[in-house]
Amino acid sequence: MSQHYPALLVIVPLLSALLISIVGWLNKRLCFPIAVVALSVSTYSSVGLLLRVLDEKVIHYHLGGWAPPWGIAYRVDHLSALVLVVVSVVALLNLIATQKSVEQGFSEKIGAFYTLYVLFITGLLGIVVTGDAFNLYVLLEITSLTGYGLIAMGEDRAPLASLNYVYMGTIGACFYLLGIGYLYISTGSLNMADISSILPGLYDSNVVLAAFIICMVGVCLKMAFFPLHGWLPNAYTYAPSAVSSLVAPLMTKVMIYVMIRLMLTVFTPGFIFSKLALSNSVVWLAVIAISMGAVLALGARNMKKMLSYVIVAEVGYMVGGAWLGNRAGMTGAVLHIANDALMTLCVFLAVGNIVYKAKGYAFEDLKGLFRKMPYTMTGLVAGALSIIGVPPTCGFFSKWYLISGGIQAGQYAFVAVLIFSSLINAVLFFRIIEIGYYEPFGADHGHGSSPIRMAEAPLTMVVPLLIVAGGLVVMGVYTGDIVTNIIAPIIPMGLGN
């Protein structure tokens, strides 16, 4: 069965999403166990794939038995395997941690909720593992549609935020589709490896240039790269807390994976860095993105909006790192995909716990929480330290690679803005920690009527948070192994020094 891991990874969640949808009409209590089983099988397959890829370098799987480019092929290499493991682990931990708040918020439609949840993860896993450009578009649409539905079930402004996300996300996906169409009319194929073998003869063509720009703009829209980030703060703030801790760590990071996949596999680095010489301009755009993300986060008035702007800045880190054009920069970007997913999951899970207990996420709701909810706040502090970039958490190491890549490439503005945004993150999070630690748990807590007694969040919500917080430190300590074994083989030899 192990040669079918690439297919099982995506098929088992798909079949169980359909099963959850049927079972939800008959017996609501079975939905959660089926989802847990499905995501556990995915996690197991993705870890198995990672171990196989460490031996075999690239794994191919032909769906329908047809060889590419006539059929659809899966192609798993080190980059895909790393992101697969990250996605499935984040999804599973989030599923377990948010069970209680989902039961509280969606008690009648729980079958539909878990169907959409598992379909979202199916789409993400499929995006990472596919080797066919059009298949990526279809899976992107599954992810997007289920994401729109999940986000819209939040509080009062959520449907409007989700509709704005619909508009911008659809334009982004359609631009990607258009770019694929331009690639098709110049090469005649839809398979990523096949396109990259035909393209070198066509580097001078206007069609390929147009395809590249259109694809990149589409992907930038979906990953919320400033100034195309307008949908993200509202969508992530007003979504239900169970949904924001699912969508926030994963959606933008998988889009960055798509960008890196397009850069490395389809349009090879020779085209992007030597022929187009766009590296400077994109790194400057990333500098603006990071600084605007940091400044807007300072102006946010509640926890979730602040964290959403921090995500906008993190996307700037990864885009800048990938476009620096040298090994250290690309290593930093790929490492930051994994690290940022974990960090974001950690802080959003902590905020989810706070919302479950304190019923609000404004800064005033944090008063005195260090005494009342110590474990949750420990998790929040661990995530905060990682976002700021304090060793030995993993955030420090990916920032280290990005900074050294920036120095090597001579992009000193990028280095300066990385340090500047770490300082701003420190200000943001110390402000929160100060409110939580020093302010007394006063009578104005909880909007008036709730009692003074408040306990820690239930065990199923705290244990995954602490596992993720521990995972941040573990990832930091093992960074060297990860970089040498998993990330270094990804970067082709022609990419700088």
Binding site: I22, L63, G64, T146, M153, S186, G188, S205
Partner: protein, 257 residues
Amino acid sequence: MGDFPSWADPVSPAHNHVSPRYIEKSMAETSVPNIVTAVLADYRGYDTMFETTVIFGAGVVCFFLLRIPRKDEPTVRRYRHMLTGMTIRVKETRKIPPVLEEFERIDTLWAPHDLIIKTSCRILVPFLQLFGLYVIAHGHHSPGGGFQGGVILGASMILLAISHDLRTAIDRMSERVHAILCPVGVLIYAGTGALCLVLGHNFLDYGALAGILHVDPVAARSYGILIVEIGVGLAVMATMIWIYNNISSKGNYDEGL
């Protein structure tokens, strides 16, 4: 603009790399004359499975967003006698039969009973469904297939809902039926693929069905394509009805357009 191929240019790269094999070999490899169906359901069948999942996901999202769980029936109902135009108000003191032959129920979005429209649409619906089944089954030999036939089947039920009222259509096909039929349709598709996986071939490799159906692999592909097209047709029909019911009644399932 010189790099873009001109309109209908037969030697552009798009026509010369992957497509010639589809055109030349699909009859020999799948015994299906309609090349579009062969490519859709066999060569690129994985995409089609996810496309069916997209439409299923949209149905679930509309249900998730809009459906208001069943609330109590109002205590006062209004009926209008169709022949004389007299309206009556009935209080829920005793059991009211759900369908009264000569009375029609008045809602806020009520349109008067029209004999011509109701009768002609009632006669038309079975022919529409027959045509929908024909389109699904003849996807191999003429333009058609699962999606097209499924939409026609769904349109037949929506025609019933528009010409009569939503309650009549829901009596014919209740919410539970079409909400369960939708994932069943996608399960037929994914289940066929999983069956091929269990039998040892790759996912969605219909050649694996040759052993079960006792035919040669080429004919097994043709039958595999038919099975998945039926699954797609079911899923699309159920989703069209589900989305229409949710959107037109704003989630209440009582009065439609």
